[in-house]
């Protein structure tokens, strides 16, 4: 039996902007098991990064709405104060590698110090102990101890990415959120990083939330896949089901648009563009682009239907 480590229930994150309220994360619910890796896929702007920020509570200032439940081993961490969240949860239990983080390493600080920093700040460890743990974290991601004294500019792209992974792991979290961790890297370096993430998952019993817009890449790590569109999760399925037979029309279109190297299949494009999150379409958000849409779709937002063994689909097609 597997244990659930994280549950999100009706999570919302809206931004206030001059154009109106951006509903970036809208009623998102999902479960993450211990040691499981959930791939969160979808086109850019659909709310993947926002969902990650909502979970780890690192939010911009222009928040209009931030509600819902996030249960970490049963405890609703949305109820914690910011101070409690910072002391107990962020980095210690849930850690994150941000999109583009490898390019925002501090250029004037040594690698070892930057990896140790979360320990000095959040765990108030003494310097010697923190350094020891930083060396260990760097070793785990495949960077030799001698690099502790180096600066970011002395590192290649792949080593910088390993460094930011070490920074996220040094506090020994249970859950690691990875937001497009390899999209700035070339494919061979990317494959090396994916190899590393696969090994870490096994050895450290980590749970991952792996965000990517690249469906091919998502299959490198996914035990389960969640498809996001217009701020909502449209489908959740285990990897075997998802890559063989996605159920939601958007997932099907997304899969059909993927160019592949080894098969003859010709990719198709999805006509139209993702909707505005300020004034999203009525009913099902995908209806203006959906080839299977019928009357009901533009009128009512579909609920989530359970197709069995955790396969969830938000589409009227599956109404009994």
């Amino acid at each position: 039996m597997t244990d659930t480590i994280l549950q999100s229930r009706n999570l919302k994150l809206y931004y206030a902007t001059r154009k109106g309220v951006v509903k970036a994360v809208n009623n998102v619910s999902f479960d993450l098991q211990k040691g499981e890796s959930l791939a969160l896929v979808g086109e850019s702007g659909c709310g993947k990064s926002s969902l990650a920020k909502a979970i780890i509570r690192l939010l911009p200032r222009n928040i209009a709405t931030y509600t819902g439940e996030v249960l970490l081993e049963g405890q609703d961490i949305m109820k914690l104060s910011d101070t409690q969240f910072r002391r107990q949860i962020r980095w210690k239990r849930i850690s994150m590698v941000f999109q583009g983080a490898m390019n925002s390493l501090n250029p004037v600080l040594k690698i070892g110090y930057q990896v140790a920093e979360p320990l000095l700040i959040h765990e108030e460890l003494d310097k010697k102990e923190a350094k020891k743990r930083a060396v260990e974290a760097l070793r785990i991601v495949g960077i030799h101890e001698s690099f502790v004294e180096r600066y970011p500019f002395e590192l290649s792209g792949g080593m910088k990415q390993r460094t930011v992974i070490a920074m996220a792991l040094v506090t020994n979290p249970d859950i690691l959120i990875l937001d497009e961790p390899t999209s700035a890297l070339d494919v061979i370096t990317q494959a090396n990083i994916m190899n590393l993430l696969k090994k870490l998952k096994k050895e450290m019993q980590l749970s991952y939330i792996f965000i990517t817009h690249d469906i091919g890449l998502s299959s490198e790590l996914a035990d389960k896949v969640a498809v996001m569109y217009a701020g909502e999760i449209q489908e959740v399925a285990d990897a075997d089901t998802f890559y063989a037979k996605p159920a939601h029309p958007y997932s099907q279109k997304l899969m059909a648009s993927v160019p592949t190297l080894r098969t003859e299949k010709k990719p198709e494009f999805i006509p139209g563009a993702p909707p505005s999150l300020v004034n999203p379409p009525s009913g099902c958000k995908f209806h203006p682009r959906c080839p299977s849409a019928f009357d009901r779709c533009s009128k009512e937002n579909p609920p989530v239907f359970d197709l069995g063994s955790g396969h969830l689909v938000k589409c009227w097609w599956y109404a009994k």
Partner: protein, 328 residues
């Protein structure tokens, strides 16, 4: 000019960037393109693939003479243009075009779409106002930004990424160029629109018989665009061949590694580790001796770090820079 004639002939082309001129030390160079030779037929489309920093953009821009070559020659229809001065290059500018990666940054925000497309026509003194208007309508139709009346008066910020990239393509085509270099034209776009734009490029390339260089780091998209593949590593083209032959039977160890690194969507992927070489591409100031791939190559032999491999042609029409294919 017949179909089979070479349009472009590049020989031993080099483009080095000077890093810093030390007062007392000799200057250092980034050897971004370092000895590249190939030919391109009229109306032929090729894909140029390589990782970030391998020199793809530099090669593309040098061919278009947006950079001054450091060495080698570029011939277009037999005419040597390697060192022509910019005032002698106006005709070449008219017959060539570059489509760049970033659809958001490539277009001037203060011009309407109509004006953006008219600009190259004005610069090259094409026709009168009426003829220019006609040409602008023609290219807008070709890239299917229709109804034209809706799009022509718009400004770039009103368009989506995919639509902007169509405008960039239309702009490249207004003067009916013979040679187009598209540098990562779809990498900033979502997967769902990428294929649409690539299909469009391919269709226009065939219709207008354009010689086309499609630059990308994404091998999976190339087979929808061209039949021929050029693989670049550390400033050199290391393999040239037919797309399917290269993909199914790579000759260069770097190509092989590249192919191994790319996942197709398959849940079994999570169970395996990919057999790819460690390390990263070399720095181009001091590239490795001999074969530039030797520090990462699983097949490396003694000769590899001593001598640079020349071009071998182990099969008809397949070229590779690797000692494994030396004639025994």
């Amino acid at each position: 000019m017949s179909e089979d004639e070479e349009l472009l002939e590049v020989e031993n082309l080099r483009k080095w960037f000077e890093l810093r001129k030390g007062l007392f030390s000799s200057p250092l160079y980034v050897k971004a393109v370092d000895g590249v030779s190939f030919k391109l037929k009229k109306g032929e489309a090729i894909s140029l693939v390589g990782e970030s920093g391998s020199g793809k953009t530099t090669l593309g821009k040098t061919i278009l003479r947006l950079y001054e070559p450091t060495g080698g020659t570029i011939k277009i229809k037999g005419r040597d243009i390697t060192h022509l001065k910019s005032n002698e290059l106006m005709w070449y500018r008219r017959e060539t075009a570059l489509i760049e990666q970033d659809p958001y940054g490539a277009l001037p925000s203060f011009f309407s779409i109509h004006r953006i497309l008219e600009e190259p026509l004005i610069i090259h003194k094409f026709g009168n106002a009426e003829e220019r208007r006609k040409r602008v309508r023609e290219v807008l139709e070709e890239v299917r930004l229709t109804p034209i009346e809706d799009f022509a008066p718009k400004y770039p910020h009103m368009l989506s990424g995919g639509q902007l990239q169509r405008v960039a393509i239309a702009r490249a085509l207004t003067l009916r160029p013979e040679l187009v270099v598209a540098d990562e034209p779809v990498s900033m776009l979502d997967a769902s629109v990428r294929i649409e734009i690539l299909n469009l490029l391919r269709e226009l390339q065939e219709k207008r018989k354009i010689s086309f260089i499609y630059i990308t780091h994404d091998l999976t998209t190339t087979k929808y665009f061209s039949e021929k593949l050029f693989i670049m590593y550390a400033g050199k083209i290391v393999e040239i061949g037919d797309m399917l032959k290269v993909v199914h039977n790579p000759l260069h160890p770097y190509t092989e590694a590249l192919l191994k690194a790319i996942p197709d969507p398959d849940p079994r992927n999570r169970e395996i580790l990919r057999d790819v070489p460690p390390g990263e591409p070399p720095n181009l100031v001091n590239p490795p001796s001999g074969c530039r791939f030797h520090p990462r190559c699983p097949y490396k032999m003694d000769i590899c770090q001593k001598e640079e491999p020349p071009v071998f042609e182990p099969e008809n029409g397949r070229f590779v820079l690797c000692w494994l294919h030396a004639k025994k």
